[in-house]
């Protein structure tokens, strides 16, 4: 897609905003609509846009398959790990109140933040790798 100068310039301007918006949705989910799932999808969509305009090869050098596979499993691991840590600290599985013995609210905050991060990592990695799988096969 070397010939579409307008597309390349516009996407170059838009892409940081899309990725920033994904992070905003991720970490602002406590206060407004949104959360890990939506943020992961938006992040994945941003990377898909990059791959469409700048080529699959460039996108795959930024997000190599091993990184995506690592991200997919890391997110689930973070989520389940938070549950197990709260179990070890004397609470219920996924009972985040146990993460902070003195202020259960703070523990809840931390737990939700970590869990949403796990969801976001898994969802974005899965979305990107599904798109790469389709596009790579269709070349």
């Amino acid at each position: 897609m070397k010939q579409y100068a307008v597309l390349r310039v516009v996407i170059r301007l838009l892409l940081p905003l899309i990725l920033l918006f994904a992070l905003y949705v991720q970490f602002h989910g406590d206060f407004g609509p949104g959360g890990g799932f939506q943020a992961g999808v938006i992040f994945g969509a941003g990377v898909v846009l990059y791959a469409l305009v700048f080529g699959l090869h460039n996108a795959r050098t930024i997000f190599p398959p091993w990184l995506l596979r690592l991200g997919m499993s890391l997110g689930v691991l973070i989520y389940a790990g938070v549950g197990i840590v709260s179990l070890l600290l004397g609470g219920n599985f996924l009972g985040y109140g146990a993460l902070d013995a003195h202020h259960p609210e703070h523990g809840q905050h931390l737990g939700i933040l970590l869990v949403e991060m796990g969801v976001g990592i898994t969802v974005s990695a899965v979305m990107i790798s599904i798109f790469f799988a389709f596009a790579w096969r269709g070349r």
């Binding site: 989910g29 997919m72 499993s73 869990v115 899965v126």
Partner: protein
């Protein structure tokens, strides 16, 4: 509704995918009208955005025309009518929409609305329900996404090996 009928009538799969995207966007607007902003957000980003891209990717791998079916459409039509009639019959027992005395507003919802500010301490009740009260469900959802990713990677993700056509007979037990 209009898009659904158009999807049924059309044979061009590319247009159908686009209509599905429009349908998702319209339902996202519907969810906003119903004050379910989180659901609308998900529907707009997943249904209208990423799912459309994935279906287009599938079309690029296969073909974009639907094959005309040779079977008679009456048996499937009958099944669909019976199922739809059963579902509509089921809705007759539902409590009236928006009534504050509905069972769904009496069970755990008051607890979430009144206590989650003190128990969890974050303003968005949807997030506290999703990530804390119903943490198991969200863990399951994440596992589902993970499994879907693994499935796609196993099916079409690997490096393409060009096997000679005779190797099938040798490898079969």
């Amino acid at each position: 509704m209009v898009t659904a009928v158009a999807v049924i009538r059309m044979r061009d799969l590319f247009a159908i995918v686009m209509l599905f995207g429009i349908y998702s966007l319209v339902s996202a607007g519907l969810f906003v009208v119903l004050d379910a902003v989180d659901v609308a957000f998900t529907e707009a980003s997943v249904g209208a955005g990423v799912a459309t891209v994935f279906m287009l990717g599938t079309l690029a791998l296969t073909t974009s025309r639907e094959k005309p079916s040779s079977r008679s459409p009456f048996l499937p039509l009958l099944v669909v009518f019976i199922t739809g009639a059963a579902l509509i019959y089921g809705t007759l027992d539902f409590p009236p929409f928006g009534d504050p005395n509905d069972p769904i507003h009496k069970h755990v919802a008051p607890h979430y609305i009144e206590e989650s500010g003190a128990e969890i301490g974050i303003p968005n009740i949807v997030t506290s329900v999703l990530a804390s009260y119903r943490g198991y469900d969200t863990l399951g959802e994440t596992a589902v996404i993970f499994t879907a990713g693994i499935g796609v990677l196993l099916l079409i993700g690997g490096a393409r090996r060009r096997k000679p056509p005779t190797s099938d007979k040798d490898s079969s037990p």
